[in-house]
């Protein structure tokens, strides 16, 4: 192995080495999430590739030893959103409805039966429908889907998710709560269609929102 020609080579190699050690191990996690964002393998590969190359370009600015995974997910999420915006402008690709702003969907969402819990049936759904879970998830609007993926597939904390998608923690909580219920209600529909559940499943419509952490903490403080 020859010595690097000059300092520049040395620095570049250092950067490559750090990137391989810190960023590259998260590639599988990025890919698993990208699959559920883009809904197909080819696009998922393109997305991961674009995000990783972008991450390498900006890797000099990344502070070593901090939360590399969250940093990579932020890059990938932004890349995904930007690409879809571009696609929408060009009108070349069929537009994914779920990228519409939240406000436009709010009315329609209210009509969805919000279901609290599956009781003992919850794990059954996953056993019965591997692919259906993926399909149901892909039907969950993007803003909710990304939060569910970041929390439940990748195990990010609320604070990290808030940083990744650039929204307040309260928004993360309500989207996560709602995203999970949308997914659960979709799976309940599948189960009914397939006859695994009777049509008269109890739906608990009372709790549509999680209590915000701040509200909860204020209440504790005041009484």
């Amino acid at each position: 192995m020859k010595a690097p020609k000059n300092m520049e080579d040395e620095a570049r190699k250092e950067l490559e080495k750090a990137f391989v050690e810190e960023a590259v191990p998260h590639m599988d996690a990025l890919y698993a999430t990208a699959l559920r964002l883009t809904k197909n393998k080819g696009n998922a590969e393109d997305l991961v590739q674009e995000a990783m190359l972008k991450a390498f370009r900006y890797f000099g600015k990344y502070q070593r030893g901090t939360n590399c995974k969250a940093w990579l997910f932020k890059i990938m999420t932004n890349t995904f959103i930007n690409n879809y915006r571009k696609a929408k402008k060009r009108k070349e690709v069929s537009i994914d409805e779920d990228i519409k702003p939240l406000a436009e969907r709010a009315v329609a969402l209210e009509r969805d039966p919000m279901q609290e819990h599956f009781g003992d049936q919850d794990t059954m759904f996953f056993k019965l429908f591997g692919d259906e879970v993926k399909q149901a998830l892909e039907e969950v609007p993007f803003d909710f889907r990304i939060v569910v993926l970041l929390a439940d597939l990748q195990g990010f904390a609320y604070k990290e998710i808030a940083d990744i998608i650039d929204v307040p923690i309260g928004t993360v909580m309500s989207r996560l709560y709602r995203g999970r219920r949308i997914l659960q209600s979709k799976l309940t529909e599948y189960a009914k269609e397939q006859g695994y559940l009777s049509d008269r499943v109890e739906t608990d419509l009372e709790e549509k929102k999680p209590t915000s952490l701040d509200d909860y903490r204020n209440r504790r403080m005041n009484g």
Partner: protein, 270 residues
């Protein structure tokens, strides 16, 4: 705390977002309320099942190779070395640094990364190695032949304006050259050539193997040439590099038979 106060906090509780004091308060309610306990358990199960259902999707090997290939500096000095074949094992062994082991030189057809996680396509993961998988697909697919044998000159000439690399067909002992066609391995354009050896079909594919990753465990040195031998779904697939072109050989013969075939048909690199 009452159930109506607890219920909206279930997600946040299960997500582990409460501090210790807060959790204590919630758990006090839980220990007294089997109804809420059940809902918490259910939510925990949901979260776990969701994860199990979606995890385990690993980035495809060629995606990994493509990304690393674009990021990492090529090892230019390797271009000075023998272009016919890369003595892969030796190279990996002599390189100590993580990055030092990268060989993504344009001519390095079987590229190896010295960082173990990339070098090794674990046996389970080798199922997803698309080149091997697709080589088997082509072998078993029985696709129509576009140019017929048995004259190898005729087939080599047919490919001249169809693929961007030279086609030199190996001469197998007692083999009947059936014919050839254009094919592809993932996005790689490939020449597919079919042989018959004593009634057994042998498929040979020639392609540009830039960035192709192979498990070091599969590498065998046969007559001074490093060859990857992979057994998958009952087929033996050999990958090797010759004259700057990557060859895959697929057949349902044993590894020993394949080795024998290889050593008699590919001369040792100079």
């Amino acid at each position: 705390m009452k159930c109506k106060d607890f219920l909206p906090l279930i997600d946040t509780y299960v997500d582990g977002e409460f501090d210790e004091l807060e959790s204590d308060e919630l758990e006090m309610h839980l220990s007294a309320c089997p109804e809420c306990r059940k809902k918490v358990d259910s939510q925990i199960n949901w979260k776990r099942s969701f994860k199990q259902c979606l995890e385990g999707e690993t980035a495809p090997v060629d995606l990994r190779a493509s990304i690393l290939g674009q990021i990492l500096t090529p090892q230019t000095e390797q271009q000075d070395e023998d272009e016919n074949v890369l003595p892969l094992r030796e190279k990996v062994a002599t390189k100590k640094g993580a990055i030092a082991g990268l060989s993504i030189a344009a001519i390095a057809l079987l590229s190896f990364y010295a960082v173990p996680k990339f070098v090794t396509v674990a046996p389970a993961a080798s199922d997803t190695e698309p080149v091997v998988e697709q080589a088997i697909d082509w072998h078993t697919g029985n696709f129509p032949i576009e140019v017929t044998g048995p004259e190898s000159d005729r087939i080599e000439n047919w490919f001249v304006d169809k693929v961007a690399f030279p086609i030199h067909l190996p001469a197998f002992k007692d083999a009947n050259l059936l014919g050839a066609r254009l094919a592809n391995l993932k996005e790689r354009r490939a020449a597919y050539v079919a042989y018959d050896i004593d009634g057994t079909r042998l498929s040979v594919m020639l392609f540009n193997g830039d960035g192709l990753l192979v498990d070091t465990e599969n590498i065998k040195n046969i007559k001074g040439r490093d060859i990857a031998l992979i057994n998958q779904n009952g087929y033996t697939v050999a990958l090797l590099q010759n004259g700057g072109v990557t060859y895959s050989l697929t057949s349902d013969i044993s590894e020993e038979k394949m080795t024998e075939l290889l050593s008699s048909s590919f001369s040792a690199p100079e």
